[in-house]
């Protein structure tokens, strides 16, 4: 039994304009998706070069879902993106060189070598660093929304979860509390059909995870997560609804995780045909085609964007490689906050 609303695909340029995106915004979305994928592809190369310690995760296939949602966020909104949501960091303005530095455990990564992978965030850009434990940051997003509600600010928090992590108690407690208090929070479920090697039918027994929203008293929406404009539209609607006091929404973005769980995993358990089928719906290709068909993106535009992205990534890589190793003398610093730490921009 489906309960959630299944969202329409994205429309014409005219439609998209009505949702608040002009042509430059659209190109920016496309650019951000390219940077997102580029950062992760370069990261993969770094990993194979032995420059990234530990493991390495990417969000290939999730670029539309992450960039689409982040584009819909307002400047003062906050979010708790996860390991498939590089596009959120990129869209919010995290500089790629810092991400490469993070990957490599260098001093200029947002966690200064203390944590790895995309376990990072820049709080000044409204993002809170994920922990591994999934989805422990979801109740934290709810707490951000609680602060906004108490202070009657028109701000919204976004909390992410994979479809697998929706099975955890944290997802339930967070969503239930948000529903009861109608807090200004939007939940994004990145449903990429696998939790590591576990397929969805071993993770949940409802048709759509977005159907669960009803049992918390708010709206659920299912959207094609490879369609960046549809994702944007639904996220925008939900965010503005939350901002206006309409309470939470749960948006399920349907995608396929296009690689293994992490770099060591060849995803042997995913049927080949599934990869093939979803490869045809590559989110970046889709947006590219849409831009060419609807927004008159020219070869020249494309080349310019590609050149920009390439330059950005090259320079970022170089800058990251120049970043020093963290200093072991700092080993025990910062376990406890100092009063001055509270005077950062996000603590208002």
């Amino acid at each position: 039994m489906a309960i959630a609303r299944v969202a329409e695909p994205s429309g014409s340029l005219q439609d998209v304009k009505e949702w608040g995106l002009d042509r430059e915004d659209l190109l920016q979305i496309y650019r951000n998706m390219l940077i997102t994928r580029g950062v992760e592809e370069r990261g993969h190369i770094l990993y194979r070069q032995g420059k990234i310690p530990g493991s390495f995760y990417t969000g290939r296939g999730n670029e539309a879902a992450s960039v689409g949602v982040a584009t819909a966020m307002g400047p003062d909104d906050v979010g708790t993106p996860l390991h498939r949501d590089m596009g959120v960091h990129i869209t919010r303005g995290v500089e790629p060189w810092r991400i490469f530095a993070q990957y490599m455990g260098r001093a200029d990564g947002p966690t200064q070598g203390r944590d790895g992978n995309v376990h990072m965030a820049d709080a000044r850009l409204g993002l809170l660093a994920m922990v591994s434990h999934l989805p422990a940051m979801l109740p934290v997003a709810v707490g951000c929304a609680l602060a906004f509600r108490i202070r009657e600010e028109r701000r919204v928090a976004i909390g992410w979860s994979g479809e697998g992590a929706m099975a955890r108690g944290d997802a339930h407690e967070g969503m239930n509390f948000a529903g009861v208090r109608r807090l200004p929070v939007v939940f994004i479920c990145d449903n990429n059909q696998w939790a590591y090697s576990t397929p969805t039918h071993l993770e949940y027994a409802v048709e759509h995870l977005a159907d669960r929203a009803a049992s918390y008293g708010f709206e659920g929406v299912v959207v094609d997560g490879t369609d960046v404009l549809a994702v944007y539209r639904e996220a925008k609607r939900a965010i503005e609804k939350a901002r206006d006091g309409g309470g939470p929404t749960l948006i399920e973005c349907q995608t396929l995780r296009m690689e293994g769980h992490a770099v060591h995993d060849d995803a042997f358990y995913v049927p080949k045909e599934l990869f093939e089928r979803w490869a045809e719906r590559d989110p970046i290709e889709r947006m590219r085609n849409w831009l060419r068909g609807n927004a008159e993106m020219t070869d020249e535009d494309e080349e310019q964007i590609a050149a920009h992205v390439k330059k950005l990534l090259n320079e970022s890589l170089q800058r990251a490689e120049e970043s020093p190793q963290p200093d072991p003398a700092t080993l025990t610093d910062g376990v406890y906050a100092a009063p001055e730490d509270l005077d950062t921009p996000h603590h208002k």
Binding site: N176, Y336, A337
Partner: protein
């Protein structure tokens, strides 16, 4: 200055902070209309409204996730577990998110978590525990355990002021039983500083919470001159003060209500053995509860909890060594 119970002191300190700082709010189960299971926040919702005194669903993780998120957005949440025992349901959030976020990501998490803890009234295995030792092993958290009304107020204010997560263990057995003079004005009691509850020369008793009074009673019943150090804060603990006391007395007794193996008493005894080895004239000794859950029946709970007589026996043993 007025005589107040330990409970009133906490309540007053919290109310004062809420009056002066709009960022401070309370969240927990039944903290609003009901005023909390122990009535620490009685009348708060009337004064501050239902968005600053939040009756949460029965969801310890949502409460603590809520506190962390709000704290990161600049609020000063004071969360309550209905009983300290239920903090086990928020363990992951506390050790995984709250404790490590400042260190990893530079984002401080200034919240207070109030934990009515301790036994002595037949609460049984799930309403009597002292979980401070578990948390005192987690870098990034602070754990305070006041024993007097004056400290209870000063430490709740310090905890709210602290830029990080502070676990505030309130001993239920002291709530209404212990009274003392408490200044009316705002003041802070430093986190991490012990208090000499009673000076003495022959044996140092290091303890905290309700056991301070057990130590006091026991000290009266022995001939030795007993120094009682009320640790007040477990993490970070005041090693310097303990070392100073033990260097003076040369004898160490650690007393806590929690169970023995892996209890925080081990950390104290080990550290003193390491750092004041040459000063010790007797082996360090611990008086604790035995390694079982907390018993319900009074006859069992009495045998389980460290009693004055246990401390007297231990004091004699150490003094006479």
């Amino acid at each position: 200055m007025a005589e107040k119970t330990y409970l009133q002191a906490i309540s007053d300190g919290l109310r004062q902070e809420m009056r002066r700082d709009p960022r401070v709010f309370v969240i927990g189960e039944d903290v609003g209309v009901y005023g909390g299971a122990f009535k620490v926040t009685l009348g708060f919702q009337e004064e501050f409204g239902s968005w600053r005194v939040i009756d949460a669903p029965l969801s310890e993780t949502a409460i603590m996730g809520g506190a962390t998120g709000a704290a990161m957005m600049g609020m000063r949440p004071v969360a309550e577990m209905q009983f300290a025992d239920f903090v086990s349901c928020a363990w992951d959030h506390l050790v995984t998110v709250a404790a490590k976020q400042r260190w990893r990501a530079g984002t401080p998490v200034p919240f207070v978590l109030r934990l009515p803890s301790g036994g002595g009234f037949s609460g049984g295995p799930f309403h009597s525990q002292n979980p401070e030792s578990s948390f005192a092993h987690i870098p990034g958290l602070k754990c305070v355990c006041p024993a007097t009304p004056e400290d209870a107020k000063g430490l709740i204010v310090s905890a709210i002021e602290d830029p990080g997560p502070v676990l505030f263990f309130e001993h239920k057995h002291l709530y209404r039983r212990i009274k003392g003079e408490v200044p009316d004005e705002r003041y802070t009691t430093p986190i991490g500083k012990a208090r000499i509850h009673q000076e003495g020369d022959d044996v140092s008793v290091i303890t905290w919470g309700a056991m301070v009074y057990t130590a006091e009673e026991a000290a009266k019943q022995v001939d030795a001159s007993v120094e009682i150090v009320d640790l007040r804060t477990i993490l970070p603990w005041d090693k310097a003060a303990v070392l100073e006391s033990v260097r003076k007395t040369s004898k160490l007794l650690v007393l806590h209500e929690d169970t023995h193996t892996g209890g925080f008493g081990a950390e104290i005894a080990a550290t003193i053995a390491e750092e004041a080895f040459e000063d010790l004239d007797a082996p360090p000794k611990r008086v604790t509860a035995p390694d079982t859950p907390v018993h319900f029946a009074p006859v069992l709970e009495g045998a389980f909890l460290p009693q004055v007589s246990d401390v007297v026996a231990a004091l004699r043993e150490v003094a006479e060594y």
